[in-house]
Amino acid sequence: MGLTRRDFIKASAAAAAFAAVGVPVVRPKGVDAAETGITWGKAPCRYCGVGCSVLVGVKGGKIVSTKGDPAGPVNKGLNCIKGYFLSKALYGKDRLTKPLIRKGNKMVEASWDEALNLIASKYGKAIAEHGPDSVAMYGSGQWTVQEGYAASKLMKGGIGTNNLEPNARLCMASAVVAFMNTFGSDEPMGCYDDLDLGDTYILWGANMAEAHPVLFSRLIDNKLKHPKVRLIDIATRRTRTTKMADEYIAMRPQGDLAALNAIIHVILRDKLYDGAFIKQHVSFKRGKENAPYGLKDKEAFNETPADVKNLSFDEYKELMKKFTPQWGEKISGIPAKKIEELALVYTDKSRKVNSLWTMGVNQHSRGVWVNNLIYNLHLLTGKICKPGENPLSLTGQPSACGTAREVGTFAHRLPSDMVVMNEAHRKKTAGIWGIDPNKIPAKVGLHTMEMFRAIDRNELKCIWIQCTNPFQSLPNLSRLRKAAEARKAFIVVSDIYPTRSTELADVILPSASWVEKEGVFGNTERRTQQWFKMIDAPGQAKEDVWQLIEFAKRMGLGHLFPYSEKGLHREIWEEYRKFTIGSGKDLAPYEAYTKVRGLRWPVKPDGKETRWRYTEADDPYVKKGEGIKFYKAPGNKVNVWFRPYEPPAESPDKDYPFWFCTGRLLEHWHTGTMTGRVPELKRAVSGATIELHPEDAKRLGIRNRDQVRITSRRGSIVLPAEINGRSTPEKGNVFTTFFDETKLINELCIDAFDPLSKEPDFKKCAVKVKKA
């Protein structure tokens, strides 16, 4: 009996899997024939910030197959389970295909012309009557580089307002501020190679197995190959990550601030630091303390140079004396003995130590401080800028780095580490954009929380939301949704599916997604990846950059976008690239990216990438003989900050006795608009649950799957209990996810934010829990 075409496809599937684990196989004759008619193209994955490379197979104008890209250095031929949904996320039945305009309570189909003319007239009227700061745009770390760049040029250089924000404010802002105030430049010195080359990995509040599965697999591969590799999971919840860790250390919420200070105390007390490294590279600083939590509207807090005090090493040591391990234990719940042990791990000269963290540290009312304290550990011990030994801040969105951070779509930023407050930066930007430098305001625009609060205060008249779902994802959600429902602002939402945000829109615009358009993403490890359009978007859906430029034309700003139709993405890239040359964040010509699976910046003059920044061995900005040079920091010295413990905005008490924490699951991504569409994903994990510790559940008479009411000072919700499931929070803590659009979990969350980064704390507020 001969082999069928199906047999060959199965042979092809097995061959791809063998190749990914390094076992060479000969593809049987006939395999290639079975794939006849499929055209393959490369693209970074659409979902998280890891930036896996995917091969997309197209036949007859449809995606028919996907592969983990064997040539992709990030994922080496393997994708996580979300790979099953990559193409399906584009083919949901309720895909938006036509512009819709609100007529009373109904959304009515409209032409692009009608919709764009309406938006332009509303924006024009608001600007004429209330000035450019009465309008805003809220974008995304899922925007391509080109989309973010066009949005920044339109808002900052065209309309003349800095009211431009990315949803990355909710996930990466604390990491950004700490990179800037420590190293003088955003984004990490290390890269994913450190996951293969190190031997000690300390996770601070990160469930990497579920949130960054492909990176976690790299780490586990390293561990399985090298028995020396040790993984320490410091967290408030036992997860899939914990199962693979050598050690789990339970910590109280906000305990990281105390534990890190106590570890540093031990390092200083026992003189375990690297004195030579400190002398050459480090300055000591003390910033502003007793910071507020942003709970009041327009609560201003800044740490200006005048607020920063220079410290000597001795003064710093003196200040740190009070943070003893016993003090650390009292606040963090981590035993003093364990704090002493962690200090020894961090300073062990025979170990290559890495710290890894993500939302647990960033979504934190003192998130910048925790980032600072982690850097302190690496700077005091000199365990940084070495292959296999670095701190690495993990990101959550595919282009949080490439677009939100590098292009700079925050209210205070301009491309390549520049800021609107700096006159020279505005001038450089205006020069490249061909505009009057006075057009870019020096005043920082509204950050995300203030942007949406400003709608409630009737101060913001128009907002355009692209590629994100704020009316599900923002904290203290009720206030913001009520303001939108009261039609206090004109709201435009561009998306690919109906969401909890499109339901509040005055205009809904259908967008093209992923390989329905051309674009560039930048991932966690500074890797810039390009892809071409492979299929047509459905119906009249159009890519976001087209929408922005068509709007600009109607606002009389078309001259800012003089690109050809055919060369649009390439021409925007080449213009944007001018910002990066000589900045230490140098990008390559567009053509280079079309041929490779990404390059890590700074890209050298010879076209090669940089794996480890600030190092003589690898970074083109560091000369021979200079060793490590933090060339973006003032005087080439990086900052070790004194950052004390301060409590969270809200802690459990008699009335609300539980900590409430929110997060993600392996099978769902963010608000679920691209994974919730997929029926089987919903089936695997049907809806949000509330995870409880078994002893807490027993005490409250709650059994698995019982309906449980969770109430905070801001809202109340009923969810089924999950006890002894995949993850278990520590006693006194409950955990839930925010993907479920039928449960607006974030109505419970407090809108407290970090005073420096303005990033909300989605991980800590107080709730009461009872059987419903």
Partner: protein, 82 residues
Amino acid sequence: MPVSGIVLTCTATSAEGIALQLAELDGVEVHGVLPDGKIVAVVEADTVDGEVAVVTGLQEMEGVISVQLAYHNFEELEAEQL
């Protein structure tokens, strides 16, 4: 019917036992067990829905560290099944 090629990473001591269990499952073919605890398998089901149900189950098996996807072909599916 969609077809996928997957790699299971297992703790080294449990890989062979897991491979035997996989062989009993409908729609799963074990193609190889590697000395480092990895298993190469092919999954097929009537729908992608079915494939994911299988893979989700595999992920929860004792001794399985992770399940990763190398290849996915779903060209024979009708648009509605997508």
